[in-house]
């Protein structure tokens, strides 16, 4: 019994402290974005509105790629499952272990950049950062979305203000006490993200 409790405690402790994985840049590195595996973006299913996108670490999708003589982690996503007009959404989850300061490039079928967005274009929403991008009819064709760390923001700090209620149990009752919570989280080259594409006019995703 005691051994079981100890194992459970160790397991929980291990889960809680699992570090955010980073992309290894000191091993094999692709020489172009075209060599990266293109992962499918999440597409909501109108028939299954409760189906939620999977949150995954950037390192689960990304690999090392050398661009302009610099090695960086980059994740390639295929976003052509939905024909224009479509809405692409990248969600970065703020995490005490690290928040990805992401940079986005939208690429055509030949991996040429069509447009790009730095981390400053993201909208901060509670414990998330989101960026909505529209692919309208008549826009230059876009087939891929490339996510990589934004060097201009890596090393920064993500500060979050909120309120916390602390409950003290006193006898048969309890006492609620509120305090402000301020957390500072590092912006870096690792973190959790969700990439989705949906037809324009369809309901936004719920997480």
């Amino acid at each position: 019994m005691r051994l079981g409790v100890a194992c459970l405690a160790l397991l929980l402790a291990a889960c809680a402290t699992e570090p955010m994985r980073r992309v290894a840049l000191d091993q094999g590195c692709a020489s172009s974005v075209a060599q990266l595996i293109a992962h499918p973006a999440f597409v909501p299913d109108a028939a299954k509105p409760k189906l939620k996108p999977k949150q995954a670490q950037f390192a689960d999708y990304a690999a090392c790629v050398e661009r302009d003589g610099t090695r960086t982690g980059a994740a390639l996503f295929r976003i052509d499952q939905v024909a224009p007009p479509s809405t692409l959404t990248l969600t970065i989850v703020s995490d005490s272990r690290g928040t990805l300061a992401a940079r986005i490039e939208l690429l055509d079928a030949d991996f040429n950049p069509v447009r790009s967005h730095g981390f400053d274009d993201f909208v901060r929403r509670g414990m998330q950062y989101t960026l909505d991008m529209f692919h309208n009819v008549g826009d230059p064709p876009i087939r891929y979305l490339l996510v990589s760390p934004d060097p201009a923001r890596v090393g920064g700090v993500d500060q979050h203000f909120g309120a916390q209620t602390q409950t003290l149990f006193v006898g048969t009752g309890y006492y609620n006490h509120g305090v402000e919570s301020v957390s500072s989280r590092p912006l870096g080259d690792a973190g959790t993200l969700i990439v989705s594409v949906r037809p324009q006019g369809s309901a936004p995703l719920k997480y």
Partner: protein, 242 residues
Amino acid sequence: MRFNFATAAGLMAVILLAAGCASVPPQQAFNREAADIHSIRVLPMAESEIGLAFLNHPGANFGLIGGLVAASDISSKENKLQKQMAASQLDHLAVFREEFAAAMQAQGYTLTWSEPLPAKSKVARDRWGLRKAYGAVEGVDAQLDLSLNFVGYATSGAGDASPYRPAVHLAARLLDPAGKQNLFTDVLTYNNITNIPTAITVNPDPRFAYPDFEQLEAAGADVATGMKVALEETAKRLSEQF
């Protein structure tokens, strides 16, 4: 002691949001490239006053009597805060309107404001203050429904670890002139003390934080300056969504 129902309703809304009783309305990002919009009519807004949000008031732990004591304490502090703002001649609607109009103009949008801006007429609104139904407007490319749900100072509890900071909470929806097509809907919080998970979140300016109400009172005109900064930043961030 004066008890203001509009402020009380705003405070209640903040508390309900804090309790997680309301989900954010379906958010719609603005597709600027697909919309040919240059002129926007801002619909009449609901009346609003400077408020005080006090989450986790100690009195609320002691049943009905404690709750009444808490309500009385909050109302008293709120009245003092309103007088302090009035002494500084802060017109929160004017500050927001001027900054938002300028920021939108810089992006190529001309706003036409309803006069008077805060309307006394009864309009059916949802829990986020947005209208439940829209009519048609003429002479503009779009209509904007704005709801300043809370403007004032907020604290997460009693004690030095819960400073009073400026807070603004608003909801906005942009529609076509016919009032049929939702072009944009979102919620924005300056100082997200209620932990609304997916609202556009703006961190409060650290210069304006008061460990207790006495220090807030002693700060005099700085309190109104903090409110003005919060409103200007809120207006600017909202304009960036278009």
